[in-house]
């Protein structure tokens, strides 16, 4: 990292901001039911693009915001590209394995954590599976993968500015080149995202379930009670008012219900808040540490290392991959812990928290096995959907695009398998 700090505040401030950002991410993801896997699988299962569109908007706004800060000189370019990873076969293979495993397990790395914090036992097992998958990767895969990366076998040999699109396109990391690249990456992503959301909304409207259609009460009042063979009258509970995937206009009562935690956050509100959390980390961590949201892929995987330490087993001493870094509580580990705290707080205050054990015990096994694939996939890909894909869009790299396409392939494959199993 840089020899000088971009800002003169100390590490205490950096830790504090990373902690708050982690809390915000956990809270917002829980309240908005934000799941990358769910957003992608909806494309194949229900042909809904509203949440996938939101992901593209998230990537686009992140690229525009970080690129804008660099272009106008608020943050040095080196703090945007310094942690860009190598690129190669492993991004494609890893993202494919990750997409498959996460879909089978029932959650991406973000939703795994906030659902685990909301009491989902299946996601606890996914997390443990991910820890085991990380160990399998470290021992069985990393030495070979590392060899290919070092020797440039289907891999670039350097990251950082070599993987930085402004440099790749303009051979410059000056403000103007970063600005133009940010616009070239961000604007199309936001435009495609908005288009996909509008397309989904138009489709729903054409089917009579559009944004202006009433959802509560009137639509089901007549047919449902007569046809409900279970004898359970509609109206006995609290109406959900408006699902967060519904793209209609948000009214004052909706805002009030969101603040009072009676209603999930709308998907685009969640997207905006998550982008703000990324910016908080990007700015405050510049010059100090990895200034992006890393979430679970490395830190979550390292939890096994922390768990084994009291038993006298120290993976950092002799195990490949683990021995590349010290097992310390750095700002990103704190961020992951605070993400869990944020999700737990949100689920508890909203009444969503409950220890949930699936009725079908095989789901626990699938969650664990899927978690192992998640652990292997994210480590092979050098990061998860947050620390690699979303982050790389904000870094103005191109690995995020490779990850996105390959992950979509993995999700599609898992949907096909699930359709045969159901």
């Amino acid at each position: 990292m840089l020899e000088h700090f971009v800002f003169s505040y100390g590490f205490v401030f950096v830790y504090a901001v990373f902690g708050i950002a982690g809390f915000i991410v956990g809270w917002v993801a829980q309240r908005g039911n934000y799941c990358f896997v769910n957003a992608m699988s909806a494309i194949f299962t229900t042909k809904s693009y509203d949440r996938f569109g939101a992901l593209l908007i998230l990537f686009g706004t992140s690229a525009l915001a970080t690129g804008g800060l660099v272009a106008f000189g608020f943050i040095p370019a080196v703090d945007q590209y310094y942690d860009n990873y190598f690129s190669g076969w492993y991004i494609i293979v890893g993202a494919l394995i990750f997409g498959f495993g996460a879909t089978m397990a029932g959650g991406c790395n973000l939703s795994m954590l906030y659902r685990a914090a909301s009491g989902y036992v299946q996601n606890w097992l996914e997390l443990f599976g991910m820890m085991l998958g990380t160990l399998i990767f470290a021992i069985a895969i990393w030495p070979t993968q590392s060899f290919t990366m070092t020797n440039g076998i289907l891999s670039t040999k350097e990251g950082a500015y070599i993987e930085y699109l402004p440099y790749d396109i303009f051979h410059s990391v000056a403000g103007w080149s970063v600005g133009i690249t940010a616009l070239a990456v961000g604007v199309p992503l936001v435009a495609i995202g908005l288009y996909l959301q509008a397309k989904t909304r138009r489709k729903w409207a054409s089917l009579g379930i559009g944004a202006s259609a009433p959802i509560v009460g009137t639509t089901m009042a007549t047919p449902a009670p007569a046809l409900n063979s279970g004898g359970l009258p509609i109206g006995g509970g609290i109406p959900m008012i408006k699902p967060s995937s519904f793209l209609g206009r948000i009214r004052t009562t909706d805002i009030k219900n969101m603040i009072l935690l009676r209603m999930p956050y709308s998907v685009n509100l969640s997207t905006a808040l998550l982008a703000i959390a990324l910016l908080m980390v990007f700015v405050s961590g510049a010059g100090y540490t990895f200034n992006y949201l890393v979430i679970t892929s490395s830190d979550g995987g390292r939890f096994l290392e922390y768990i084994l330490m009291p038993f006298g087993v120290n993976l950092a001493l002799g195990t490949p991959w683990y021995n590349n870094a010290l097992a310390i509580v750095d700002p990103s580990v704190l961020m992951v812990i605070m993400l869990i705290v944020g999700a737990f707080t949100a689920s508890t205050l909203s009444g969503d928290f409950k220890i949930r054990v699936p009725h079908e015990r095989k789901r626990l096994v699938i969650g664990f096995l899927g978690g192992i694939l998640v652990g292997i996939g994210v480590r092979v890909a050098l990061g998860c959907n947050i620390g690699m894909m979303w982050t790389n869009f904000a870094q103005l790299g191109y690995d995020g695009i490779l990850f996105l396409v390959s992950m979509l392939g993995g999700v599609w494959l898992a949907i096909k398998v699930q359709q045969h199993l159901v």
Partner: protein, 57 residues
């Protein structure tokens, strides 16, 4: 996916009732399924559970 399969075999005009404690299913997955198929739905919270009704049209 189970609900989608059940809906496929359901007669038009009939309502399927889904009981779940998985909030994202009531908030995201099932409304998206119903919206995508053009079916009306209604979701309510009842204690720890969510009841989602989808009318096949």
């Amino acid at each position: 996916m189970t609900v989608a399969k059940r809906l496929k075999n359901l007669e038009p005009g009939k309502v399927i009732e889904v009981l779940t404690d998985h909030q994202p299913a009531a908030d995201v997955t099932l409304p998206a399924l119903a919206n995508g198929l053009g079916y009306q739905f209604y979701a309510e919270r009842s204690g720890d559970l969510y009841r989602v009704y989808i009318t096949k049209q």
